[in-house]
Each structure stands twice: as C-alpha cells, then as structure tokens.
Amino acid sequence: MYSIEILPNSSTHATPGWTYVPDRRDRGFDPAKAAITPAVGRKRGIRDPGRADLSSRQNNAIVRHLAELDRENHKDVSIPIPVKQQKDSGGRGTRGKVTSNVRRILQSQKTFRNHLDDEEAAQAQAAQTATQRPAPAQLSRLAKPPSSRRSSTPAAASKPEPASSRQKKHTPSVTPSAAAPAASTTTSTDGDGDGDKPDADASPNPTKLITSEHDNDPLLRSYIPSAPSDRIMQALLSEPPLSYHAARAGPPLTNKSPRRFCCMCGYWGKIRCKNCHQRTCGLECYKVHEDSRCGAFF
C-alpha cells in the first residue's frame, strides 16, 4: 500500500516535486488499526485540517515567512566598504604582501547559503562514492542497481539499503560508545535521589538507614545511573563534530497540535476564513480581514 506525499525540499532537482514514499502503517500490520485509521484520518481531515500534514502551499508560506524573519534588512541593500585614502593603505606595507589565500577569501562574495550548498554537494558525492565502492563486494548476490525501488523485490531486500545510506549522510558519527548506554544503566544502590552529581565514589554511609527486607525490592529501588567511565568520556570527547544539518534540533517530542492565532490582533484564532484559511479571533477582526487582507495576496 503506497500513498503519495509531497515532500517539501529546498534543493533543486530535475525530478517533479513529489515522490513515492512507503506508507508507514503497513510496517507492523494490524488489521484492527488498518480498518480504523483511514476513516479517522479522513474525517479528521475534514474537521481540522491543521492536524493533518500541511499542504505544500501552506508549507511554502511558512518557508517564506521564516526566510523573511531571517533577513538582516527588509530591503536588499549593498553596503560597500568605505573607500580609504591612499596613505592608509600604505600602512599595510609593514605587514608583508597579501597571500593568494587571503586574496581569494577577501574577494569571495559567497553567502552562507552558497557555502552550505557546496558542503552538501561534497557530502553527497562522498556518500555516493562510499556506498558505491563496497557495493560490489557486499551486494554481488543481489546485483541490483540502486534504483530498485519500483522493482518487484520484496520490501525486506531493498529496504536496508536506502535507509543505511540516508543514515550515513545525516549522522556520520554514531559509531562509538554503543557500549555507553549499556554501561551506564548499572544502578547504584544509593537511596536518596537528590544527588547533584552521580559521583562514582558515592560510598555507602555507615550510619545511614534502618535496613528492612524491602531494601532490595527492585520496585522500590531508586535508579540513579552511575557516571560513565573515563574511557567512555574520552571516546565521546574525541568524536568529530556533527554536520550543520545534523546538529539542527529535531521536531518536538510531544505531538501537540499547533496553536493558531488571529492574524489581525494576535489573540487566539478561533475562526477560519473560508477563502484563505487564515485565522481570526472573532467577527470584528474577521470583517477587517475580509475587507482588506483576504485574498491572493498571501
């Protein structure tokens, strides 16, 4: 079962702006859920479109708004370096001549966006060569071209490949300290739970508590994990930095539905304009909105 979803992306591709993505629901197939979810999804979509995925048009509006917030000046301006008198530039004579590196850097008019795109392209190329090289050794049995998505291979055979390559691209540094979480789940028997730092040398106080038979009850034990060993810390410290994109904070953990605000006065957006889907707080603001701002301008 496949559904079509429009993926918002910032990079330019020759492909059309949509792609097939496997439907998540069929992974762990649950007939009960499968019977219910489509119906619920459809109805909810009618009642409250905000809960479902945003349309690409709304997405574009958000992306545009965020780009607007990211601007330095409202208008594009070029502010040149103030021209100096000749005798000022003579001052650098004491400093030796400009090296080629410096000249290149000073003349570069690249923006951060340009640099980031370069970086991404380089990374993508590196990832491609990295995946292509081991391919003949590992996948000689499969002997499939990377574009095996539409083929009739069972999902299990073709799944891991794109998943692993994607992972490699985004988080290049998740190799060491698989032992870290395992080692740190060892429990300390220290009872009181307000220790600031999980000192490894939390020696049991001799004059402590009255022992009872429930002390070793696993249900009553307070689990404060001990600090990881020095070796683990050294391994963590020596990890290379994440890439710019990998360091971006992920989506929120709690799946709260987004709050809506009145586009006129900023109060809660209780009613939705049926033309442009913007929210207003009440009829007073809606009238203003309808008269002045509703329409294709946004």
């Binding site: 945003l54 990211d70 502010i79 030796g96 730092k197 600090a227 290379p240 994440l242 992920g250 006065c265």
Partner: protein, 467 residues
C-alpha cells in the same frame, strides 16, 4: 599554502621563542556584537567585574544611514544620531563569519588602525600576540579554513586558537554561580567546570552545548534556528501589520524588543489579559501591566525611545491639545501600543510551532541533546544548566526554562538553571580566564611557526582535536 612572507623582525622573534606569545587577545566574534579585549596575566580575585572592564562590546556591522553614510563597528554608537532606516551589513551570517571582506574592515578599524582603535584594544604587533577566536558550533569546514588562513596569513598572529564559543563558559566561576562550595585550591591554575550544559541564545540561533571539563561533547550539540534577529523581525512584522509601518526600522524595533518583550509564564492567562475585548467592559482595566506604550525615538529632538504604562486616553488627550494648541511635545510623539506582542514574540523560542516551524523549543531541545549522551551524565548536566547570550536577558526566560525543564526531566534529577550577571560577555570572560592558564592554552593553540610549517589544513585538524 602558508606562504606568508614573515617580516624580518618577525622571523627573528620566532627563532628565539617558538612558544606562544605572552599577551593574549580574546575575540568572541558574535553576529550582532563582537566582544573583545586583552586577557589579564592572572585572574583577579573578585567576581569578574574588574576583568569585564577590559572587554569592549563592538557592533559587528557596517551601518548605512538614511543619507547614505557608512559607519564601521563602534561608530554606530558614537557617530550615528538618526536611528531611522538604518541598514546593516553583517559579516557574520547565521553565527559564522562568512564575509571576511567586511569583517577585516571592522577588525582593522577596531583593533589594528592606530587612529580609530581604542588604546586598550589596539593590537600593535600581532606577531607578539596570541589570538583566541570563538566560532559557533558545527561550523562548515570551509569557513573554518578561511578564518584560519586570514588570521594567520593576513595579520600573522604569533599564536592562535579557534574554539567553540559556548565551551569557553566552563572556565568561569561556575561554582559560585550555582551556589556550590568553592574549589579546594583557589590559588592553583584556573580549571574548567566538570559538567556544564550551555544554552547560548544569541542573535542568529540558539544552541545547546554539553561541555565536559571545558570540552564540548560534539554529539550532544543541537541548534534551534531562532535567535534575537528573528524575534526583532517578528515583532517588526506584527507592529507593521497592526500599527505603523516599521519594516525598515530594524534598529529601533530591536530597542523596542529589548525594552518591552518578556517570556510569559502563564501564556493563556496573559493572552486573556491583553485581549482588547476585555478592555471595554471591565471597569478596572485587566490589561494593566500587560499592555504598555512605547514612545518612539525622535531624532530631531534627540529623544531616545522609552516604555511607559499604557494610557488608554492618549488619543483623546492628543485631540484636546490640538484644539487648545498647547503641549506640543505630546503631539509630536509617536506611540506604539504593545499588548500580546510583548510575550508572543519571545514565545517562539519555546514553541517554534507558533510560526509553523517544525523544530523543538529550547526545553525540548535540551532533552534531545541529552538523549544521545549516556544516562549517567544526565543528572550532572541538568543540575548545571547555564544560559548565556542576549536573549537570556528577557525577563521571565529563566523561570520559564526551569519550569519546563523540571516538568519534562526525570524526577530523580535536580534541575538548576542559572544566568550569569552579564550573559553577553560571559563567553569572553571565560576565554580571558582560560587564557591565564598558559599550560592548557599551549596544549590547544598553535604558533605562527607551526602554521607556516604545516599549513591551514593541519591547523584545522589540530583545532578539531584530531591531532
């Protein structure tokens, strides 16, 4: 690569002393302002205010006024009197130094040019100075390489260290800030805090950096692409939509933001208070305290902008004084009325979903950062959360962060969130204190000679800790 021709005198001094120069200059190169100054030889015993007096905060921008004059760096504060329609060119983009053409101009003006640089900030001989330069975490390697090459080949500093800004905070007096007992040997060399979770909410973005013994845990660094610039622009957009057109007034709106904005600890409640619908009926105005007036600056009269309690009868008074012809001061002033804008604007740092962003807010981001670290470290980091950067100055920010962290963090952990006295210059202060520990500095910094022998890619590997 690395072919800068050293000055004859420079070569002589290098041959004599291959170690780092004794003077250290620290630059925290922020997108909005750079914080710069010489590090002392030894740490003064007081709380750092003496040390901070040597640190200057300089706008890191070229400023263009209405009448097309361009001013560099600190001239913004000394030469510009008309704050309307100021335009900025900032060499630091998204927190990373991108445009070295402009950055060089500002640095030259602030540090090297003997006519314009302040006397206590002037770097007379770079080859006898060690430079400690900060960068934002997760910088692009090409930008790091550019910075190294410019610093070493254009100015030729005798010693150089490029480091992640937030990690320098760990070298400050963290224990007294959190109310912990002081270190055992106060006379020994400065040492970093053991575990510190640094929230750096600056102009371009907000980052979370777990710092362990002064070094960042790279896998835990997370970034929210919202900072002070976005808050200012968002406020500007709201005000322009609802009241006056202020889209060109970035500088003024930044002042408005700093004067009026706060982080709400009771968002729905304050939203109700600020609602115009409630204002009409109730006799005692419920919006009192939430809604304020901001009087815009008047360049002709030389009056700066300021905030005052909301006066609902202001328009009436204005009309009266037009009729009577008195009180011209009242007539000439322009007032912005700010209600829910005051707290919905900073709210996006905590709920980026309010502007449709699919990133987590700051408290969630902290937990995401911790989730990739061993659980044994969580209590130590949650008990030592330090907030720096300009947004930390927003009233209510600390309470809100502590409350939300407390609610989401595990019950066994103590949550302590603290803000230093001066969150903007705290990283610089840490850098200056770090520079007094010559042993540690020598371990991580490079000398001019090493750079000339090994080149910039070696320097990049050295700073990333690979060597």
């Amino acid at each position: 690569m690395g072919t800068a021709k050293p000055r004859p005198s420079g070569r002589g001094s290098i041959a004599k002393a291959p170690s780092l120069p004794s003077k250290t200059f620290v630059i925290d190169n922020g997108a909005h302002t750079m914080k710069a100054g010489y590090a002392p030889d030894s740490v003064p015993s007081d709380d750092g205010s003496q040390l901070l007096s040597t640190c200057a905060t300089i706008p890191n921008a070229l400023t263009k006024t209405r009448n097309n004059r361009v001013y560099i760096g600190s001239q913004l504060h000394t030469h510009v009197t008309d704050w309307n329609e100021l335009m900025f060119r900032r060499p630091v983009e998204k927190g990373y130094t991108v445009n070295w053409e402009a950055e060089k101009e500002i640095w030259e003006h602030s540090f090297f040019d003997e006519k314009t640089a302040r006397k206590d900030l002037r770097i007379a001989s770079p080859e006898e100075t060690t430079l400690v330069l900060t960068e934002a975490p997760n910088a692009l390697p090409i930008l790091q390489k550019n910075a190294d090459e410019i610093v070493m080949e254009e100015w030729g500093f005798g010693g150089y260290l490029r480091t992640i800004g937030p990690s320098l905070n760990a070298w400050n007096e963290i224990r007294s800030l959190f109310g912990d007992p002081l270190a055992q040997n106060p006379d020994g060399p400065i040492s970093p805090a053991e575990c510190l979770l640094v929230i750096d909410s600056g102009y371009s973005h907000t980052t979370v950096t777990p710092v362990y013994k002064g070094r960042p845990l790279q896998r835990g660094i997370r970034r929210l692409d919202l900072g002070g610039k976005h808050l200012t622009n968002y406020l500007k957009e709201m005000v322009s939509m609802r009241q006056y057109n202020m889209v060109d007034e970035t500088y003024i709106m930044n002042d408005v933001k700093e004067a009026v904005c706060f982080v709400s600890n009771n968002f729905p409640g304050e939203m109700e208070q600020a609602w115009k619908g409630n204002r009409k009926r109730g006799q005692p105005d419920p919006s009192e305290g939430v809604v304020v007036d901001y009087v815009l600056p008047d360049p002709n009269a030389g009056v700066k902008g300021f905030m005052r309690p909301h006066d609902p009868l202001l328009n009436l008074k204005k009309r009266k004084s037009t009729l009577s012809g008195s009180e011209t001061a009242l007539l000439s002033e322009d007032v912005l009325v700010l209600g829910n804008e005051r707290f919905t604007v900073p709210e996006i740092l905590f709920t980026p979903g309010d502007i449709g962003m699919k990133q987590a807010g700051i408290p969630d981001m902290i937990l995401q950062s911790l989730s990739v670290l061993p659980t044994g470290l969580h209590p130590a980091f949650l008990a030592n959360v330090l907030v720096v950067g300009g947004n930390a100055l927003l009233p209510g920010f600390m309470d809100r962060l502590e409350t939300e962290l407390r609610q989401t963090a595990s019950t066994e952990c103590v949550v302590r969130v603290r803000r230093p006295q001066d969150p903007i210059r705290f990283a610089w202060l840490g850098g200056a204190r770090f520079a007094t520990n010559k042993e540690e500095l020598k371990r991580v910094a490079i000398t001019r000679q090493e750079y000339q022998e090994n080149g910039s890619s070696w320097a990049g590997r050295k700073f990333s800790g690979a060597l």
